[in-house]
Subunit: 580 residues, 2 copies
């Protein structure tokens, strides 16, 4: 057990930046720089990257840094607002990367007064460690006995060792292998490592620093102080009520994100057989309705819906059981259904659930791996619909074979190596389960988001517009991207939107009450715009240009059934997304 420097007079009531240097084995605590004060989550990640990370550095080399930053609203169990952002230069895209997750990591960090945790450089002796954090500071514990474990076994061992009241952010084998589709998993409120900051390979960055897990002791700590508690409570109450009553969120309470299966299919926007078709013949058996019925029918451990974060009232998560009622995986998300179900031609939800569990256990991004397998199927490495073969291929990842490493490097590289033109990716990152030739506003988001193709950067499917019309999509995407960058800065889940929208002013009020600020009503957009601006700036310095703000050229040329549509939003519109 190696003790790092600890500040004995550490006052966890005053939030600070905590910094670990792995080369020197040193820890430091800094007051929050002025320019970081009004930032958290994604916005803080963006500013940190611009301020501290060499844009052209090797993502898996010593110059890259990993940051953990809770959002601005995190710490008080406001419904769906306790998300933690991870950030660094992405090994997948080569650009900016923020990926966030639910669970308890963000919450416990704020309780120890950690505004941001920054992990720098690399250990010289290459030993694996667990970074343990409590109110006394940080220490590095040896992690050799955890190496080789999947996230499920690993988190059990950590819970045994450090007690059950901990938050954990950890990597699976894929992170150990430094694969570009490795994410960072976090315990949910039932202590299952199911909440993954999935996208862009930040698990590989953590692996490159030989940190298997970050453990945050939640036993001693306190909620962040609130300047005006009464005003805060009042705003929180209004928001929670609005969120509970919002009709858009009700559907997630019943069906989880899987509610989107039928909707996307209805629009002809469900990725099918490596983005070859927009509708799947066997949609019914991968629908949210089917999933809910199956969970209810099978019973046992299965819960049709539950919350991933303490205090969340939306409860979009689930626990999917087998025929005997034993959990296969918790949760199945729509993105996984789209990418590992229809995109692979797999219609058996049990199979999707099993694949999902294995992929989770390895610590992989199920979107990226689903897309990579789709590309591999197109190359003839597997047949569409062959779930056993898909599992064999994922076993190749577990065994760290060249083929496994290839698939684990994501869809773009898999396509390059296997000679497949039809790769659904932007900036090296695979698209999620919304076909951009059918949902063109989301296509604009994929094309222009500094994060690479990513639905959480600005999903437009629920807008009441003609999704096939190229006109107006750039304006729509811009609005949603700004909002989403704002929510990600607050630590608010993508699903809080309807709540905040029907309770205007509550973001402003909660921020002003908590921090004694005086921000105005457009604070969400202000946070979103500044975050996007910094992200864009970092990407430009890392080598991106307008040509990277495009969908793959084949999607502008090859029509998608059943609408026979291509992606035809003009380049002028795409280039105008950042004009605000």
């Amino acid at each position: 057990m190696e003790k790092l420097m600890t500040e004995t007079s550490l006052n966890i009531g005053i939030p600070k930046i905590w910094r670990v240097n792995l080369k020197n084995k040193s820890v430091s605590y800094e007051n929050i720089p002025k320019s970081w004060e009004r930032l958290g989550g994604r916005g803080l990640v963006a500013k940190f990257l611009v301020d501290e990370v060499v844009p052209t550095c090797e993502p898996l080399g010593p110059m890259n840094k990993l940051i953990l930053a809770p959002g601005l609203l995190v710490g008080h169990m406001i419904s769906s607002c306790d998300r933690i952002s991870f950030g660094g230069k992405s090994p997948l895209t080569g650009g900016v990367k923020e990926a966030n997750a639910g669970g308890t990591t963000g919450l416990y960090m704020t309780h120890l007064g950690i505004k941001a945790l920054i992990i720098e450089d690399q250990s010289i002796n290459n030993d694996w460690s667990v970074l343990f954090i409590d109110s006394n500071g940080i220490k590095l514990d040896p992690a050799e006995e955890l190496i080789g474990l999947g996230v499920y076994d690993c988190s059990k061992k950590l819970l045994d060792k450090y007690g059950s009241k901990i938050a954990v952010a950890l990597i699976g084998r894929s992170g150990e292998f430094q694969l570009s589709s490795a994410g960072i998993q976090n315990l949910d409120k039932e202590n299952i490592p199911s909440r993954i900051a999935a996208r862009g390979g930040l698990g590989a960055v953590m692996g490159s620093k030989k940190i298997k897990a970050i453990v945050i002791d939640g036993r001693i700590g306190q909620k962040p102080s609130i300047a005006h508690p009464e005003e805060f409570r009042q705003a929180q109450k209004i928001f929670t009520k609005a969120l509970m009553e919002a009709p858009q969120t009700a559907v997630y309470r019943d069906y989880g994100t899987a509610a989107m299966s039928r909707m996307a299919n209805g629009f002809g926007g469900l990725p099918t057989n490596n983005f070859s078709q927009g509708q799947f013949n066997n949609i019914e058996t991968i629908s949210g309705e089917y999933m809910r019925n199956t969970i209810l029918e099978r019973g046992g451990e299965g819960e049709p819906t539950h919350a991933c974060m303490p205090g969340c009232t939306i409860r979009c998560s689930n626990n999917y059981p087998d025929r005997n009622g034993n959990s296969i995986v918790s949760p199945i998300e729509y993105e996984t259904i789209g990418l590992m179900g229809s995109n692979l031609g797999i219609s058996d939800l049990d199979t999707v659930a099993k694949i999902n569990y294995i992929v989770n256990d390895l610590g992989l991004d199920s979107i990226e791996i689903g897309a990579a397998l789709g590309v591999a199927a197109k190359a003839g490495i597997m047949d569409f619909g062959d779930g056993n073969r898909a599992m064999q291929l994922i076993d190749e990842i577990r065994s760290n074979t060249p083929l496994g490493r290839l698939l684990g490097s994501g869809a773009t590289i898999t396509g390059k190596v296997l000679g497949v033109e039809q790769v659904p990716a932007v900036k090296g990152q695979a698209m999620s389960a919304y076909e951009p030739r059918a949902i063109k506003g989301t296509g604009v988001t994929y094309a222009t988001s500094p994060q690479g193709a990513d639905h959480t950067s600005g999903l437009t499917i629920r807008a009441k517009i003609n999704h096939l019309d190229p006109k107006g999509q750039a304006d729509l995407s811009r609005t949603v991207q700004i909002n989403m960058a704002g929510y990600d800065t607050l630590g608010a889940c993508i699903f809080t939107g309807p709540g905040f929208t029907s309770a205007p002013g509550t973001i402003r009020d909660m921020l002003n009450a908590r921090y004694d600020w005086n921000v105005s009503n457009d604070i969400l957009q202000e946070l979103g715009r500044t975050s996007l601006k910094w992200e864009h700036e970092f990407n430009l310095k890392a080598g991106f240009s307008k040509a990277d703000d495009r969908l793959p050229e084949w999607m502008t040329r090859v029509p998608l059934s059943p609408n026979n549509s291509v992606f035809d939003v003009s380049e002028e519109d795409l280039d105008g997304v950042y004009n605000w």
Copy 2:
């Protein structure tokens, strides 16, 4: 035998652009557009890409085009001036790509009046073809019986079928597999397919168009007309004499390009063990001197030097025999010795020669594959120095396994997939056998050339300067890059420089005499500058930016033995290379 459209009144005495559309199976012949008239080779490739190829297209999709363009001086067997340029969007770099070769392809094209041959789109039925060209036009012959053959067997079959007076540009298995390190091979004057337009994966572009070989019948044809024959002859004579007398070329006449082994090692700039060291302990057995002595000692088919193009007086090529005097490979070049010898820790020249032969037979770029194997060795896939394992790995490429496809996709992707930071590449293309931390001017060329890392874009090792001093290297590289782009536009070999330099005015005189032009003495630089300008323009539109004009970040940080030097030419200097 499928006949394409043929123009019956084709007058091969008037040079034209020949164009084949594989989708329509049509051929057309166009007069040379005004803006292409004063271009050839690399400059014409650059202009063609800017004019005709969508910069963001998929390099292996139907929107990419392949061009063959002889240089401006090609057609008259001026010593070392009959090179053929191939061009297209590179599947390796994603940017502009021109790769040129000696042999007879350029010569025979000019004899049929082909200023440029452009191959467009892709066949719908996916059948492989041989593109046969003679004075009557172009036809597509079925090529199924050639598929699966290496370039040596394939070219023998083509010579049997079409007769011995043909030029052939063909791809090996790697081009069939559309691997990003596949080149295009050309017959030398002994009808051996040893002259490879190696870099940037243009063989994969040819493979994506299902053209196994382009055969040019040289029986009927004529040298391109000369406006002022006497002046032409006079200038040619002066140039040839100057070239023969230039002391810098004499060394190649004795030792071939392998003369560079000792020189690079002396500067501490010989890539060793995946660019980990700048000197190789076993330099002597991979030196040009050792090679020459071995060839002389073993005799048989081996020739210490010979010419690759008819009329070349430098004769830098060779034919390396085994102990019984039978040819192992023709030729061994320094670049292969550096990348597949010292860079892999292999000191046995016979082994290097054997690997070289196999790599040639597959149609691969030996630089890119040598670099990829070095990266694989760093990842533990082979031991440095283990030639048998290297050959096994190349067999994986032949067998088209995932590992083989990975290595065949080049060093950058191999590094990404295998998790190796220490990858010697710029813009996705591997460096050649000059360590940029020791030969910093060449490092500037690697960083800033629109072609990606490439010594032929501007080699500085023979300049009489301190190669370790970062100052002045950008100016030197700029000068040499401009000259080289000029020579590549003329179709002149990299080794003609000393000849043209000591016979000033001969380029001007030959061009004016042949074409009835009135160009001035700085025509070489003018051609070079315009070519670089267009290449840069295409790359910008394809998505490159200043951040791509950098060496890998680790080379600015990790010192190289024995000089303990890092690459420290300033970013300002690098960004200034294109200020002329």
